[in-house]
Amino acid sequence: MSLTAEKIETKAALSTEEMVLNMGPQHPSTHGVLRLELLLEGEIIKKVTPHIGYLHRCFEKHAEVMSYPQVIPYTDRMDYLASMGNEFGYAIAVEKLLDLKIPERVEYIRVIMAELQRIASHLVALGTYGADLGAFTPFLFCFRDREKILSLFEMTCGARLLYNYIWVGGVSHDLHPDFIRLAKEFVHYFKPKVVELNDLLTNNQIFIERTANVGILPVDVAINYGITGPMLRGSGMKWDLRRNDPYSIYDKFDFDIPVGEGLVGTVGDSWDRYYVRILEMGESLKIIEQALEQIPEGDISSAIPKRVKPPVGEVYARVENPRGELGYYIISDGSVNPFRVKVRGPSFVNLGVMDELCRGLMVADVIAILGSIDIVLGEVDR
């Protein structure tokens, strides 16, 4: 009796008609604690269900009991690979509520930091993407270059990853006297490294075979899902908040918006998204160069209020994070603590399109697609 029951069970468990494969929370390629439940038929995927929430740390609830400046370390920790961007968005939102005018030097410093952070974040994305696909060397090269950026940050504010640097009304420390010289040296150092990365990974035929025509995202589908950032630009749409809805002083700089053109495959495949990130790093270098030339002198702490107590009101402010549009919706009830801080995390919205992209592809492609979406679980779960 029991023998037949066992037989039937093992047959079901080992049958390859329709199999549920769990790429569990602990997996080398899921960029954090993400659980992907794949419904497979042989090697072909029929449905992908992402399960999230393993990294939920109640950011929005914390924000309700902290005072406005105390929330900034918490915003750092959402997207921990692009912390400057998070702080920037929050600071802009609160300054809108307070109607503060920021000194020009502060604006320039913020833009330089945000663009350096964009390069660092894209380096992680590209490096880990290569590592997922089996090319281990570009990963280490990217991290070596990122170390230079992190040491620039360390020199300015003392921390390498979670800065608490961009405050409401200004920044916490003025630039170190050596910063401008070292930043210019970095820009000079980094340009040939992008060429090297292209040689090693971007133009490699095997890499192209793995990523071209995989995970094609048509533009209308992307807009319907609310995708922003390099994913949207990879699908061909020229939409960048720094150009279309300028905040801070981005309208003073001259830079291009790279768009995916389907150079090796169709428009909107994983290679395009990857290539858009590489081109964006070049554009960020341009912005940093211009900012370093134009930065004025000034007092950075003149606009920082003693107590942040905005009037009753609500504001929605958005910035272009390396992963997409990061939005803060803050409701203030006139006290020192915000009433509600709601964050629109780009990785959370971008992850939603996973199922649509993976239909009909193979298991190995899921990893290629997930890497090209570039999620950070801290932002997905907050």
Binding site: L14, M19, L21, H27, P28, S29, E43, G130, A131, D132, L133, G134, A135, F136, T137, L140, F141, R144, L200, L201, N204, I206, F207, E209, R210, M362, V363, A364, D365, I367
Partner: protein, 357 residues
Amino acid sequence: MIYDYLFNLIGSEFLAGLICSFLPLFLFILPFALFAVWWERKISAHMQDRLGPMRTGWHGWLQTIADILKLLQKEDIIASDADKPLFNLAPVLVFTGSYAVFAAIPFSGAFIGANIDLGLFFIIAVSGLVVAGILMAGWSSNNKYSLLGAMRSAAQIISYEIPTMIVVVTIVMITGTLNLNTLTEMQTGYFWNWMIFGGPGFSAEKFLFIPFMVIGFVILYLSTLAEVNRTPFDIPEAESELVGGYHTEYSGMKFAMFFLSEYANMFAVSAIVAAVFFGGYQSPFGYLGNTLGVEGLIPFEQFFWFTAKGLFFIFVQMWLRWTLPRLRVDQLMALCWKYLIPISIVNLLIVGLITVL
């Protein structure tokens, strides 16, 4: 010949043959596998602008020994639903398959494990044991991931044996022998007598052969790279895709056996490529022993050249591993069936035509 020497010493043919076949295993291959692991870590580290193991011994050369000691102490975990006899047998098969090929490879003029007339054929046949071992490992682990990995690996190895065999047939057409010792002896002299430069002798035929020999070399190298599961063909053991493939469930010494057999396999394959195309143990410039008049030096020199060529090809294998991303399974199969096999067949036909005419 070491075999004759032992035979005269011991008197028993069986014992002499036994010791002769085990000698390469214990004296050379096992220490070599340990060295190869260290070397790979150092090469990969320097290619990636870092240092690699530095603290265990001078520049970390004792690192592999430390790893083996650690693996020996690990608990041997067997899943309760795993098929125990097969689970235990699989690493043994893979290990045996990888090491048995060394019996037919000439290490130097004085030493060959077993002078088999069907050397190349024997090697390809014994490599099939590895496939059986891998399938056993995947199946008996009772794990979806391992099964998938084992199936893929088996498909990969079996498909890539075909271009290997076709290139071997090409060589046989030119030289007329499958015996690796004879093949190596045919390539005496200087480096222009090597097969890759068309083979011994000096004729119009030789120069005609050269481009096809080069193509044959590339095909053979790629196919054997796929047979040992190295990147870009390392889907079966891809860590980031299937958490380790067919050896996910193994721990401790059994895992060490898979690991060591991979490096031994790498050396075996490099040695075969060197023996077939690059003159085996022959030196490219003539022997110091000959110029100095010391005859006894020659076998050692030959051994040195053999090891050097093997190491060079292993270096190229490691170089490829740390440069290239991985191919997907269907792309791997497409590479074999749509590119390597047709090209090798065309190669064979043309070489055949040239030999006849």
